[in-house]
């Protein structure tokens, strides 16, 4: 069947002609110059053909004059569609409503996607001020170039922004501005001694070294000078290692008490439901004089589901109090260790203990009193601003 577009628009009918064995009607149609197509003879001597709807008058009048019966098989084309649509008004209405809904919904912004920035909230806030947010009518939006300019204007942290309005989506591509590193302005300073000591090593990154290794310095002595020989002042930097001495007084008790576990234990199992604790297993009451209890709770799981129940496993250990008297050597060792920790706490970072000496020791009323001397190597440098700088220069 050749359906040409023009025929489809005009509408056409397929008709089955009965009672015309001599094809008189067909011949009549041909002589009347009616356009026919798909003329097909059938087994029983009848035939059928298609004709355009505009020729229906000729076909009907010929059929009447030759007394042929017609059976209309197919009605195709726009006129019949219109006719059917008229009979189904609600259907048509639904179609129209659908089209209207589609048009209405596609005239809003549905999504705004911001890419390329770690602070999409800031961009979104500016876009919000420009009425670019889900729910805005597309007609109310500015065009893409204006949006780009407005964003660039209001966000100083972006180098470039691309706005693309595609359908109901707004895509915003942001390229953030790479900030130059901040300049650090430093006032000229010198490095002076913080504590007294003997300088062992000196490393000046900038500034003039003012002391030599082996020199004894007192607090406030300039170690690395920020004033250069030509009178210019700089930000002096460096490390000054020195031997520093500390004296600590320590008192350690001779006897020590501790709890030791004998290895004997009893375990109890509990089921914990909220605040209710039910003992489930292990009811022994051990005759321990001193006991140490360790309990572990773990949730009860079925697969990955966590039940509101807990299983508590309690272990009661037999503990025994131990009293021991420390020997002189052990007491001294502990005293030196305490002194070391004490000194390192007050010394600079990365200090190293070089030597330790026990200056005095005295056992009195169950306690060992010690006086410990500790030599530490540490950085004794301390920054001091050069107050009256003649020409303050800055350095990065």
């Amino acid at each position: 069947m050749s359906i040409r577009l023009a025929e489809w628009f005009a509408g056409y009918v397929q008709v089955h002609v009965l009672d015309d064995p001599d094809r008189r009607m067909l011949a009549g149609l041909v002589t009347r110059q009616v356009r026919l197509w798909d003329v097909r003879p059938l087994e029983d001597g009848s035939y059928r053909f298609c004709f355009a709807l505009t020729d229906r008058g000729a076909v009907l009048s010929l059929a009447r004059s030759f007394r042929c019966r017609l059976r209309f098989r197919r009605k195709r084309g726009v006129p019949f569609l219109v006719w059917r649509a008229r009979r189904r008004k609600v259907f048509l209405l639904g179609g129209l409503a659908f089209a209207a809904c589609l048009y209405l919904l596609s005239s809003f912004v549905w999504t705004v996607q911001i890419e390329g920035t770690d602070q999409p909230e800031a961009v979104a806030a500016v876009l919000n001020r420009l009425h670019v947010r889900p729910g805005t009518l597309l007609y109310r939006l500015l065009d893409q170039d204006s949006l780009q300019l407005a964003l660039l204007d209001q966000l100083p942290d972006i180098a470039w922004v691309g706005v693309r309005i595609q359908g109901t989506n707004v895509y915003v591509q942001v390229i953030p501005r790479v900030k130059p590193s901040d300049l650090i302005y430093r006032n000229p300073q010198s490095i002076v001694a913080r504590v007294p000591g003997v300088v062992t090593g000196l490393l000046a990154n900038s500034g003039m070294p003012a002391v030599r290794p082996g020199q004894f310095v007192t607090p406030g002595t300039v170690l690395i000078s920020g004033v250069l020989s030509d009178g210019k002042t700089v930000y002096a930097e460096g490390s000054v290692q020195a031997d520093v001495w500390y004296r600590s007084r320590i008192a350690i008790p001779e006897q020590r008490q501790a709890e030791a576990i004998t290895g004997d234990y009893v375990s109890h199992d509990y089921l914990v439901i909220g605040s209710l604790v039910l003992q489930v297993w292990g009811f022994a009451r051990p005759p321990y004089a001193t006991e140490l209890v360790r309990s572990e709770e773990e949730p009860i799981l079925i697969g990955d589901v966590r039940l509101p129940l807990m299983w508590r496993k309690e272990t009661v250990y037999d503990a025994r109090k131990i009293r021991e008297t420390l020997s002189q050597v052990e007491l001294e060792r502990q005293g030196l260790q305490l002194a070391r920790e004490d000194v390192l706490r007050s010394a600079a970072d990365r200090a190293r203990v070089m030597r330790q000496l026990i200056l005095q020791k005295k056992l009195e009323r169950g306690k060992l009193y010690m006086s410990v001397w500790t030599e530490v190597q540490e950085d004794i440098g301390q920054a001091q601003q050069i107050a009256s700088a003649p020409s303050p220069t800055s350095q990065r």
């Binding site: 050749s2 002589t31 026919l36 197509w37 097909r40 003879p41």
Partner: protein
């Protein structure tokens, strides 16, 4: 009489001027495309029409198309297109 005279004159002119015969108005032109389609231009009327035989009156005689499952695809005032399995074309 008038018609005949005109035909004669046309034929004479065509033979003298060596005009191809198919450009003339009252000469049937039959185009066969493979075994499946026959186009007859300048036909007059159908004489017989079944799915095995189609006879068409043309200027100066009759054309019979034999075949199987013959269908007239298009009938317009100038031409008729017959499709189907063509077995032979006879002139009478």
């Amino acid at each position: 009489m008038k018609r005949r005279l005109r035909d004669k004159t046309e034929r004479l002119a065509a033979s003298v001027l060596e005009v191809p015969a198919d450009t003339l108005e009252h000469v049937a032109r039959i185009t066969v495309t493979g075994q499946s389609q026959v186009t007859i231009e300048n036909y007059r009327v159908f004489v017989e029409f079944t799915d095995r035989l189609i006879r068409v009156a043309v200027a100066g005689g009759e054309v019979a198309i034999r075949g199987q499952g013959l269908v007239m695809r298009t009938i317009v005032p100038e031409e008729v297109v017959v499709t189907g399995t063509i077995c032979g074309i006879d002139f009478a």
